[in-house]
Amino acid sequence: MAQDETKNQNNSDSLLDDNYRKPGEPINIERLIEIADRLDILEQQNRDNEKLAPYGHP
């Protein structure tokens, strides 16, 4: 339960147009950095996987 709450605070599992930054809510640069870091890791994993299996997902 606690894990789920943390997940909801940090992440969205949905592509729905919800949880956008609210009007007047300042841009949270730390949050953008966290997401960008996670994207960097995912993209590095993708590049590594491509080296292992260049014609698709391993």
């Binding site: 969205s12 640069i29 995912l42």
Partner: protein
């Protein structure tokens, strides 16, 4: 990062449409002080940061997994505010007319997504409340756009020049009028060949 006072004034309380290239610049350089200062400035000016559905699709396009897609979406949601800019038939029509205007001016290679974005700017051009920011300046020629200012971001290895664009409705109307009256765009004499759909309503 240096920003002219007149551009600050023009941006205050406006909706700022982020082009995909700008989204990418922010995402790839979010730890850069100039990028952070730029975002803080937009906050101070109470700008509403937004994208449209095509720009969102372009930002999602190269995702390699569902997790990556969700993270890209999280990035957009953390950066932008929900601000509906729906595409309707009038925007498709304006985008096509703009493409013919560009052909007359020999502006080649402007992608459909950029034509649609310009048409969107034209639709919401009232009081210049919607302003596009992009690094792809050639995609928004001054034939129908006004560049209201520029900001240079020092990204370390590279410099990125952000241009801020609105539609000049007078130029747009003039260009559309010249196109409509041009010899090339007169409907052909009646024949047995079915006529194409009317472009100018």
């Amino acid at each position: 990062m240096v920003i002219h006072e007149s551009l600050k004034g023009a941006l205050k309380l406006k909706a700022v449409l982020l082009d995909t290239c700008v989204l990418g610049t922010i995402r790839n350089n979010i730890k850069n002080p100039d990028v952070q200062d730029f975002l803080k400035l937009l906050d101070e000016l109470k700008c509403t940061l937004t994208i449209n559905d095509l720009i969102k699709a372009e930002f999602f396009r190269d995702a390699n997994s569902h997790t990556e897609l969700l993270e890209r979406n999280n990035f957009i949601k953390a950066l932008c505010q929900q601000f509906s800019l729906p595409f309707d038939q009038s925007i498709y029509r304006s985008a096509m007319i703009l493409s013919y205007i560009y052909v007359r001016h020999k502006h080649k290679g402007v992608e459909l997504i950029d034509l649609m974005t310009s048409a969107l700017l034209e639709k919401y051009a009232n009081n210049q409340r919607l302003i596009l920011v992009t690094t792809n300046h050639k995609d928004y020629p001054l034939t129908v756009h006004d560049r209201i200012g520029a900001v240079v971001l020092d990204l370390g290895k590279d410099l990125s020049t952000l241009g801020f664009y609105t539609i000049n409705t007078n130029k747009w109307a003039e260009e559309a009028s010249e196109l409509r009256d041009s010899e090339e765009w007169q409907p052909p004499a009646r024949s047995n060949i079915p006529e194409p759909p009317k472009l100018f309503g």
